[in-house]
C-alpha cells in the first residue's frame, strides 16, 4: 500500500507532460536563440509554453518570465522591486504566514536598509485588508501577500487587497504557487502586478517557475547575461521544462472545476472520519477560505513526527508542522502566527490531496490513523485529565 497525501510539497509529473518533455529531449538539440530551423523549433516550444502559462492566469504571454522555480520567482519579484524602486521608498509590507521564500527575502532586504512590516493574521490565518491599508505609508514601495498558504491552504483576500494597493499606487505581488490549478483566479481579478508560479505543484517538472510581471512594472534583474526573457532572466531557456509547465497549466485549467469538487469531497470525507473516530482534534486554518485539497489538523497531547512515522509504516506519506520534521527547534511559523499553542502546533499533520487519491485511500488513511493516535496518546504524559 502506498498513499501519497503530500501534494502541497510536490506533485508527480503527469503522463502527458512527461511525454511532451521526453519528445523534446529526444528530439533535435537546439538553442531557442539560434536562428536556424532547429533553433526556431525550440523557440516554438518556449513560445507555446509561455502562451499556455499566460492563459492559465489571464495574462499576456509577454508578461511571463520563466525562472528556475517558485523561490526564484518570489526573489525576483521582491528583490527586483525593492532595488528598482529604492529611490522612491524603502518600506515593504508582507504578512506572518508567508513561505520562507518570501520571509527570508524580506529579512535579507532588512539587512540592506529596507523596512519591512510583517502583518499579523487572525486565528483562521487570514490577513485583514484594513490592516494592509493602515500599514501603507509614503515610503511603501511593495506589498507581498500570498494567495494561498502551503501548510493550511488558507486563501487570503487578494482581490480586496488589490483594490487597496491599486488605489494607493503601490506595487502588489502575490505568491500564487499553491493556488495554481486548485482555485480559479486571474491577474486582473486579483489586481496584482507580480505573481509567482511553480510548475512542480501542478503536475509539471521541478526546476521551472514563472513570474508574471504586469506591463510597465519596473524590476531589477537578479542576474545579468544575455537577452533571454527580455533581459529580466538571462540564461538559455529550459525548453522542455517550460513546454512541460505550459502543458501542465493548460490541463490544470481544463480540469480545475472537476478536480476541486473531487478533492474537496475527499478532503471533507477524511476530516469527517477523523473527527468521528478520534477525540481532541482541531482544524487549523479557515474552514471556509481554504484550498479544496488541504487539511491541517492538530492532534492534542502528541507530537507530529510520531504520527508521521506511524502513517509511514502504513504506507501513507504526509507532512507535519512539528519542529522535529522541520529541522529547527520551533514548530511551524504559520501555525504559531495563527495563535495555535506550541504544543498543538507540534502535533499538527498536513494532509494535502491530489488527482491520484481515491475514496479507498481516504478510508484507509482515516482507519489507520485511529490506533496510531491512540498508541501515542497512551505513551504521552499529557491527557484530558490534565486539562479537565
Amino acid at each position: 500500500m502506498k498513499i501519497y497525501l503530500d501534494y502541497n510539497a510536490t506533485t508527480p509529473v503527469r503522463e502527458e507532460v512527461l511525454e511532451l518533455m521526453f519528445d523534446i529531449y529526444r528530439g533535435d538539440a537546439a538553442n531557442p536563440s539560434s536562428i536556424h530551423f532547429l533553433g526556431r523549433q525550440a523557440r516554438k516550444f518556449v513560445d507555446e509554453g509561455r502562451e499556455k502559462v499566460a492563459a492559465a492566469i489571464g495574462a499576456e504571454p509577454s508578461e511571463i518570465v520563466f525562472t528556475g522555480g517558485g523561490t526564484e520567482a518570489d526573489n525576483m519579484a521582491i528583490q527586483g522591486t525593492a532595488f528598482a524602486l529604492r529611490e522612491e521608498g524603502n518600506h515593504i509590507i508582507t504578512q506572518a504566514t508567508e513561505h520562507h521564500a518570501v520571509l527570508n527575502t524580506c529579512e535579507f532586504l532588512e539587512k540592506h536598509g529596507f523596512k519591512v512590516t510583517y502583518l499579523p493574521v487572525d486565528g483562521e490565518g487570514l490577513v485583514d485588508p484594513a490592516e494592509v491599508e493602515k500599514a501603507i505609508g509614503a515610503e511603501t514601495i511593495l506589498i507581498t501577500i500570498m494567495t494561498a498558504n502551503n501548510e493550511t491552504g488558507v486563501i487570503q483576500p487578494i482581490e480586496e487587497i488589490g483594490e487597496i494597493t491599486r488605489s494607493r499606487k503601490v506595487v502588489f505581488h502575490t505568491d500564487a504557487i499553491q493556488a495554481l490549478g486548485k482555485i480559479p483566479f486571474s491577474v486582473n481579478d486579483l489586481k496584482v502586478d507580480l505573481l509567482s508560479l511553480s510548475a512542480h505543484k501542478v503536475y509539471g517538472p521541478k526546476g521551472v517557475g514563472a513570474l508574471y510581471i504586469r506591463k510597465g512594472t519596473r524590476l531589477r534583474p537578479l542576474a545579468y547575461g544575455g537577452h533571454h526573457e527580455g533581459g529580466k532572466r538571462p540564461g538559455t531557456e529550459n525548453v522542455a521544462g517550460i513546454a512541460g509547465f505550459g502543458l501542465a497549466c493548460e490541463l490544470a485549467a481544463q480540469e480545475l472545476v472537476e478536480s476541486a469538487a473531487h478533492l474537496s469531497i475527499l478532503r471533507d470525507r477524511l476530516c469527517g472520519q477523523i473527527s468521528e473516530n478520534i477525540s481532541r482534534v482541531k482544524l487549523n486554518g479557515s474552514p471556509r477560505l481554504r484550498l479544496p485539497n488541504t487539511l491541517n489538523l492538530s492532534f492534542e497531547f502528541i507530537e507530529g513526527e510520531g504520527i508521521l512515522l506511524g502513517l509511514e509504516m502504513k504506507g501513507i506519506a504526509t507532512a507535519s508542522g512539528s519542529a522535529c520534521t522541520s529541522g529547527t527547534l520551533a514548530p511551524s511559523h504559520v501555525l504559531s502566527a495563527m495563535g495555535v499553542p506550541a504544543a498543538l502546533a507540534q502535533g499538527s499533520i498536513r494532509f494535502s490531496l491530489g488527482r491520484e487519491n481515491t475514496v479507498e485511500d481516504i478510508d484507509y488513511t482515516a482507519k489507520a490513523l485511529v490506533p496510531i493516535i491512540q498508541r501515542l496518546r497512551d505513551l504521552s504524559p499529557f491527557s484530558e485529565e490534565d486539562i479537565n
Binding site: 507530537e303 510520531g306 512515522l309 509504516m313 520534521t325 527547534l329 514548530p331 507540534q346 504524559p381
Partner: protein, 131 residues
C-alpha cells in the same frame, strides 16, 4: 527501490514496541524534563531497592527518537546502582539504539536528563524523610 531509513531498526523497534510505558504507582523518584514548546517532554519514574533501580517506567510526548530513547533508557537502568545510573550518558543510550541521526541527538540528552532528575528527586526524598 529502497530508501535509506530515517531511523535504525532498533529505534523503530523501540518506537513501535516501547518497553516500560506508563505511569508508575508510588514511584520513589520522578523526573520530568523538556517542554512541549520545543516538542519533547519526558517523564521518567523509578523504583529504588537497596540502592539499585528496581523498576523504571516512562511517559513521553515527542518524536520517534524521543520515544525510542525513553524506552531504551528504562531498559538500560534497570538493575543498575544509583551511582552507575547517574553516570549513564546520552551517547550510551544512542549507541544502544545503534545510533541516532545527528539532528536527533538532543532527544537522547532528554533521556539522560530525565534519569538524572528522577535520581535527584529520589535522593531529595530520602534526605527529607531522614530529617
Amino acid at each position: 527501490m529502497s530508501v535509506e531509513a530515517l531511523y535504525s531498526e532498533k529505534v523503530m523497534d523501540h518506537f513501535t514496541n516501547p518497553r516500560n510505558v506508563g505511569k508508575m504507582e508510588d514511584p520513589d523518584g520522578v523526573g520530568t524534563v523538556g517542554n512541549p514548546v520545543c516538542g519533547d517532554v519526558m517523564k521518567l519514574y523509578i523504583k529504588v531497592k537497596d540502592n539499585r533501580i528496581d523498576d523504571a517506567k516512562f511517559q513521553t510526548f515527542g518524536c520517534g527518537a524521543a520515544i525510542a530513547t525513553s524506552s531504551m533508557v528504562t531498559e538500560l537502568v534497570k538493575g543498575k546502582t544509583l551511582e552507575e545510573a547517574v553516570g549513564l550518558s546520552n551517547k550510551e543510550v544512542a549507541e544502544a539504539l545503534d545510533g541516532l541521526p545527528p539532528v536527533k541527538m538532543h532527544c537522547s540528552m532528554l533521556a539522560e536528563d530525565a534519569l538524572k532528575s528522577a535520581i535527584e528527586d529520589y535522593r531529595k526524598k530520602i534526605v527529607s524523610s531522614e530529617q
